[in-house]
């Protein structure tokens, strides 16, 4: 294989993985914008999305499209239950408490998934009936990658419409800008917090469902996805959705190129090193323009 087609091959892989990181980062952003909380259980939503979809389609033989929406619905509900059960009852929680609570929720979900699905790795059939790779010279593109990019773009458009043109979406943005002011003009802040958890669980579930046909899924995926998604969110500037998508592709490409040309054994460390590097050098990220102090809260 020539150098160029090898490069192209890695780019294809990187773009697919990067889209997923971008979506996990979007999930982080939604909750962060509405509440200022970093939900460390974000990766578990991705894992659950994939797992529930697998059970529905291969276990219960539910059609693909129906299964997709039911899985997203179930995980959305789980996100809402977590907010009601673990975040809502707290009165004036400290940041430390919130961190530990979301960590606890994350290992609870992980343990629950292990209880239900065991430790096996599962797979999901590809979305398109023809699984034949599309070839570009010597490099080949998995058709699922096109599904991933398409569904990601569709989710982005739905989100953009929701945040810009619906009353609820605008209320959530008002919450993000200033909670007190939002509540003064009649926004139900507590409800918006609940909604943000549900919405970010839904995004996570979508990401989990579309990545499973290429990356497989097991109960233990969540933590790594959460850290990489967070690395993406920070690189893109926490809270910035466009930043998240761009940073997702950057980290995805770095990872696949690094694995291909440098060393595949340290593939997972690349995103983590990026995270540390960005946190230590420029916590505002590439799209962050606000002063450092705001991002060190």
């Amino acid at each position: 294989m020539s150098f160029f087609s090898q490069l192209l091959q890695y780019v294809f892989t990187g773009v697919a993985v990067g889209a997923i990181y971008g979506m996990v980062a979007l999930g982080f952003n939604i909750i962060y914008n509405a509440t200022g909380i970093i939900n460390l259980a974000q990766g578990e939503f991705v894992m659950l999305g994939g797992m529930v979809m697998i059970s529905l389609t291969t276990g219960l033989k539910v059609p693909m499209i129906l299964g997709f929406f039911i899985s997203v619905g179930i995980v959305t509900l789980i996100g809402a239950v977590i907010e009601r059960g673990a975040i809502h009852p707290l009165k004036n929680p400290s940041v430390m408490t919130l961190i530990i609570i979301t960590v606890a929720a994350s290992i609870l979900l992980k343990g629950g998934a292990m209880f239900i699905w065991g430790k096996q790795t599962y797979t999901l059939p590809a979305f398109s009936s023809s699984t034949k790779p599309i070839s570009f010279g010597e490099a080949s593109l998995n058709p699922q990658t096109i599904w991933i990019l398409g569904i990601m773009a569709a989710s982005m458009i739905v989100l953009a419409i929701f945040f810009n043109f619906t009353m609820t979406g605008k209320a959530m943005r008002a919450c993000a800008a200033n909670k007190l002011a939002a509540s003064l003009v009649g926004v139900n802040v507590k409800l918006m917090v609940l909604l943000s958890f549900a919405l970010s669980a839904a995004i996570g579930a979508v990401a989990g469902i579309i990545i499973t046909p290429v990356a497989l899924m097991d109960y233990d995926r969540g933590t790594m996805l959460a850290i990489k998604g967070f690395a993406t969110a920070v690189l893109g500037g926490l809270g910035s959705n466009i930043g998240a998508v761009i940073a997702g592709f950057i980290i995805g490409l770095m990872e696949s190129l690094g694995a291909g040309f440098i060393s595949s054994s340290y593939k997972d460390a690349i995103a983590l090193l990026v995270l540390l590097f960005v946190l230590f050098i420029r916590p505002g990220g590439i799209m962050g323009t606000t002063g450092e102090e705001k991002f060190k809260k």
Binding site: I37, I38, L40, A86, P89, L90, V95, M96, T97, I99, I100, I101, V103, A104, A105, S106, I107, L108, L109, K110, G111, G112, M114, F115, K119, T223, M224, I227, F230, A231, V234, S265, Y266, D268, A269, L272, L273, L275, L276, L279, F280, P283, F295, K296, K297
Partner: protein, 327 residues
């Protein structure tokens, strides 16, 4: 150090000395040794989290660095475990300094994520640097400590050796808390800006405590590896960092005694939950969530406070009844 602490420490020492004489079962003795080893890490974490208010989700890494350093030096290089132990402490402390200096400038969630990422990176290195660490399967044949010709191979002698170190570290930490340094640490927890305004060198203190807790993790790793004589990366995953955090939370984060009690509860209790086997992760999650929501001051203090509240309420009711009767 107040009188209360002195009496409590004397009681703890007495308890520790008598414990193996009462419970001679070698299996339990092993568990008590683990209790001591883990306590070393949780004492450091309690100082960092509870007193200084800085979180770490990566302390299993320091434990692992200590274990691998001591293990590798005493097998590959044939050095004495004592040299391994000293190297373990210094390497863990050095690493804590290198990572802590930039990381502790971050706050809250960012610090949590930075330490989590650090822990994952170290875990990946343990797994992938196969020529040095033996990769995912690890390596064995690590010798035990010995003093002169006297080997500390028996659980009985090792128990006293480990707990001697733990009690010494614990005493030093209690003294630290009740000194000028301890007050400075708590002022950072209260408000970093206010502490800085009062002339407390906040970043210096935060870093020193982080390095101290990292060094304790390294020491614990060395004690662990020469006890189990085998090392593999699975022990030092991020999950163990969360277990350590759970130990501190269960014991009560705001009190250093919570480190010892929380570690005791979560080291000894799982032995009775053998039926759950792999699902211990589910239990840790539930325990951590329950404690943070319902008993944020920890199990011991939390239950104590609830009992006290109940007793006071009952007394009030009785007083009311008496008043009614006297009318």
């Amino acid at each position: 150090m107040g009188k209360k602490n002195l009496y409590a420490l004397a009681a703890l020492t007495g308890f520790i000395v008598v414990l193996p004489l009462v419970i001679g079962n070698p299996y339990y003795l092993g568990i008590f040794i683990f209790w001591g080893i883990y306590s070393l890490i949780t004492i450091g974490l309690s100082l960092l989290i509870g007193y200084t208010g800085q979180i770490s989700l990566g302390h299993a890494a320091f434990f692992g660095i200590g274990a691998y350093t001591s293990g590798i030096l005493s097998t590959r290089f044939g050095l004495s475990p004592w040299i391994g132990m000293i190297a373990a402490i210094f390497l863990a402390a050095g690493l804590a300094f290198v990572i802590g200096a930039p990381a502790l400038k971050l706050k809250g969630h960012y610090l949590a994520m930075a330490t989590l990422a650090f822990g994952e990176i170290i875990y990946i290195v343990f797994n992938q640097w196969i020529s040095l660490t033996g990769g995912p399967s690890g390596f064995g044949g690590i010798p035990a400590f010995s003093i002169g010709n006297f080997s500390l191979e028996s659980d009985f002698s090792y128990y006293y050796f480990v707990w001697g170190i733990v009690l010494f570290v614990f005493l030093a930490s209690i003294n630290l808390i009740h000194s000028r340094v301890g007050r400075a640490l708590r002022s950072i927890h209260g408000s970093e800006v206010a502490a800085r305004c009062m002339g407390v060198n906040t970043s210096g203190y935060k870093l020193k405590i982080f390095v101290f807790s990292g060094a304790l993790g390294g020491l614990a790793g060395s004690l662990y590896v020469h006890f189990v004589t085998f090392v593999s990366p699975g022990t030092f995953s991020v999950m163990f960092s969360i277990v350590l955090l759970t130990m501190v939370a269960v014991g009560g984060m705001t009190n250093i005694w919570g480190a010892i009690t929380g570690t005791a509860i979560l080291t000894i209790l799982p032995e009775y939950l053998r039926a759950f086997q792999d699902y211990d992760i589910l239990i840790y999650g539930a325990v951590l969530l329950g404690i943070m929501i319902f008993l944020p001051e920890g199990l011991v203090l939390g239950v104590f406070n609830i009992m006290r509240k109940k007793i006071i309420l009952r007394e009030v009711e009785e007083e009311k009844l008496k008043l009614k009767k006297s009318r």
